[in-house]
Symmetry: C2
Subunit: 109 residues, 2 copies
DNA sequence: GGAGTATGCAACCATGTAGTTGCACAAAGG
DNA sequence: CCTTTGTGCAACTACATGGTTGCATACTCC
């Protein structure tokens, strides 16, 4: 289940910033991105590799440099999970209240 | 920005399973959940605390035991981010192709 | 070919964190 | 009361991982 990787990947704030940047500006090289973060190029590359192995980003060598871009549709499963889980209990309002009022178990004064 | 916490929280696979369980079965105590995972009760509690501080779960003491349930609407911002980022580059198809064909920089044979 | 620029690799450090264990505290109920 | 059951706290371990540094390798262009 490679969904795991997607959630883990976007779990890191820096990685989300990278994704934001790529979404905003389109394809870039790691060296370019490097200017946008207080990080080493190597650190950026590491993050990009994580994003890539999670299927969120793709890379392509173009002569001397390597461009990274976002992979369309790669977040759909994650979005679906959030939607599903979210609505499943939004619909029943507060599950806590419901459960507690319905199941006193032992008498509670 | 407490969104950070939400993404970090759902980044852990065990925590997502807990969320799934809570979504499916409604409110439960940590001791009950304990049966569903190969974990100590304490480990489950730790996860629940993380979920709670991220605003995803809520707890309520009821006599001897503490029930945990999901907090409605707590994932909306995360979902929104995924939606936004996702569609932003889905719409322009593969940003990599577009960028590369539009910006050869130096002549590439 | 040699300088310049970009990427790749590997070792290393430090911190965060998932998980356990042990024990103390709190509430019910006979 | 005293036992049972559930929760809370704290210390500790182990491993993952974000980050750096140093150097090697690849490509381009004069």
């Amino acid at each position: 289940m490679r969904d795991q990787a997607v959630f883990a990947a976007i779990g890191d704030p820096t990685r989300r910033e990278i994704v934001d940047l790529l979404a905003k500006r389109g394809a870039m090289t790691a060296t370019e991105m490097d200017d946008h973060f207080p990080l080493t190029r190597q650190a950026v590359v590491k993050h990009l590799r994580v994003l890539e192995s999670a299927g969120i980003a793709v890379s392509e060598r173009r002569g001397n440099e390597v461009f990274y871009a976002l992979q369309p549709g790669s977040l759909s499963k994650a979005t679906a999970w959030l939607e599903r889980v979210g609505t499943s209990w939004d619909r029943r309002l507060s599950a806590l209240d419901k459960h507690l009022s319905a199941k006193p178990k032992r008498a509670v004064r």
